[in-house]
């Protein structure tokens, strides 16, 4: 049985605080994430969404509290993350997509084949030899998704993935996200676009000033939010 691959869930945060400069950006958050539905983290600007996600992914260490993946303190491997601005190397699209596998030590022939498969799935195989950084932002973001996909993650984090994209590109990216989710990969995403949240979310974590105010199925959140802050947010009254 492979050691790290399956053991992401449950992803448990226990009284996690993140306060690097003294005041808490993430404030005593306790929650558990399990495989399954698409989860969207919502909240106003500065609510702590991005930081919370980085904590869950293991990119940041909590100031206090504990994070475990399948009961273990060590960061699980079968995860991937896509950022708001896609970070691509100065090389071809294909090589970029294969980079994650290269880090994992996969031999060249095999990783190029997998990368090409991933490119096909996001509809970009015709661009495989193009330098990645001259592509449009939408294409670049789909490349980043393809790259994440090659790693066969059990959980995929996305930090405002379409915030820098035009609506058409955004729709393409959302389509890819749905497809990845359909293969059984857990999607955890932040957005401040309510429309996108309504389209994609099956479950909502609502953050306000670093605290989790609500953690409910999407339809419950949007129709009957329990907190005043969530209510204000949905109505567009929070910044």
């Amino acid at each position: 049985m492979n050691n790290g691959r399956g053991s992401v869930f449950p992803l448990v945060l226990d009284q996690v605080c993140f306060s690097p400069k003294g005041f808490p950006i993430v404030d005593r958050v306790s929650l558990a994430i399990d495989a399954g539905v698409r989860t969207v983290i919502l909240g106003a600007n500065g609510a702590g969404k991005s930081v919370l996600m980085r904590l869950m992914h293991g990119l940041l260490l909590p100031t206090s509290g504990r994070i475990t993946w399948c009961g273990r303190d060590q960061r699980a491997e079968a995860q991937a993350m896509v950022f708001q601005r896609p970070v691509l190397l100065r090389t071809s699209a294909l090589r970029n997509v294969a980079y994650g596998l290269k880090l994992a030590g996969m031999p060249r022939a095999e990783r190029m084949k997998r990368a090409l498969d991933a490119l096909k799935r996001v509809g970009l195989s015709h661009l495989s030899q193009r330098p990645a950084r001259v592509l449009s932002s939408g294409e670049q973001q789909r490349l980043a998704l393809a790259r994440a996909w090659t790693l066969e993650p059990r959980i995929l984090f996305l930090d405002e993935p379409t915030a820098s994209l035009d609506p058409t590109a955004a729709r393409d990216v959302e389509e890819v996200i749905r497809e990845i989710g359909a293969t059984g990969c857990k999607i955890v995403m932040t957005t401040h676009n309510l429309g996108q949240a309504r389209r994609l979310a099956e479950e909502i974590i609502f953050l306000h000033r670093g605290r989790v105010m609500e953690y409910t199925p999407a339809n419950v959140f949007f129709h009957a939010p329990r907190s005043a802050e969530a209510d204000a947010f949905i109505k567009g009254e929070l910044p």
């Binding site: 990119l59 993350m81 970070v87 100065r90 090389t91 994650g100 880090l103 994992a104």
Partner: protein
């Protein structure tokens, strides 16, 4: 001002006739400085990358010292290397003094800090942009450093060209450790110094034009590299 027009015509005459002695001097200058750049890159690029990506106590102090060493006076470097390589010195048994190898060593010492400091800056800027994504993909600091060294290669080439320019233009170090021996360790800068001291200013100035032409060409190459890279790789 007759010296000026004399020198221009002397310069063209020398270049046009492919004067063999001049050719030897230019080739030796290129050989010494290019070899020095090669070794300095070998030492300086990994050092720059390690400083850019690593986090350890004393890092800031090392960076400050390294940046300071970019301005090492060539004549001081020459003196120190001379004392090292002299028969009376610790590395004397190799008999390297007054040879092109000594000149390469001195110039390598001179430009390694430049290449290390510039590459550190370049890679650190790139690291800021790439760090989260690379760590998310599972890259260790070491793997990330290698990836960044390759990814920032165009900016690094420009750092190497800067190092070459500095090496090709200096006279203090190569004069002391090379001894300006005719046909053996005489390079463009030391020849200019020699001809000036002999009062043959026209010839010295002519060589000066050639040297400046070389430096300008190197800088033009740097500019073109930058533009080409931006267009092709983004």
């Amino acid at each position: 001002m007759e010296t000026f027009s004399d020198s221009l015509s002397t310069a063209f005459r020398l270049i046009w006739s492919a004067d063999p002695e001049l050719a030897d001097i230019v080739l030796l200058s290129l050989r010494v400085s290019l070899t020095a750049v090669f070794f300095a890159a070998f030492l300086g690029l990994p050092l720059g990358a390690a400083l850019a990506v690593g986090r350890f106590p004393g890092r800031q102090a090392i960076i400050v010292v390294l940046n300071g060493f970019m301005g090492l006076p060539p004549v001081v470097v020459g003196l120190l290397v001379y004392l090292l390589l002299s028969r009376a010195g610790p590395l004397g048994e190799h008999g390297l003094l007054f040879t092109p190898s000594a000149m390469v060593i001195a110039q390598t010492v001179l430009i390694t800090p430049i290449i290390a400091a510039l590459s550190r800056q370049t890679i650190e800027d790139a690291w800021r942009e790439y760090e989260e994504q690379l760590r998310s993909l599972g890259a260790s600091a070491g793997r990330a450093a290698l990836t960044l060294l390759w990814d920032t290669r165009f900016s690094l080439v420009i750092a190497l060209l800067a190092g070459f320019g500095r090496a090709a233009a200096e006279v203090g170090a190569v004069l002391i450790v090379g001894g300006n021996i005719a046909g053996v360790t005489r390079v463009m800068t030391t020849t200019i110094a020699l001809e000036t001291s002999k009062g043959d200013l026209a010839l010295a100035l002519a060589l000066g034009f050639i040297l400046v032409g070389l430096i300008v060409a190197v800088n033009a190459a740097a500019q073109l590299t930058r533009q080409w890279a931006l267009r092709h790789y983004g």
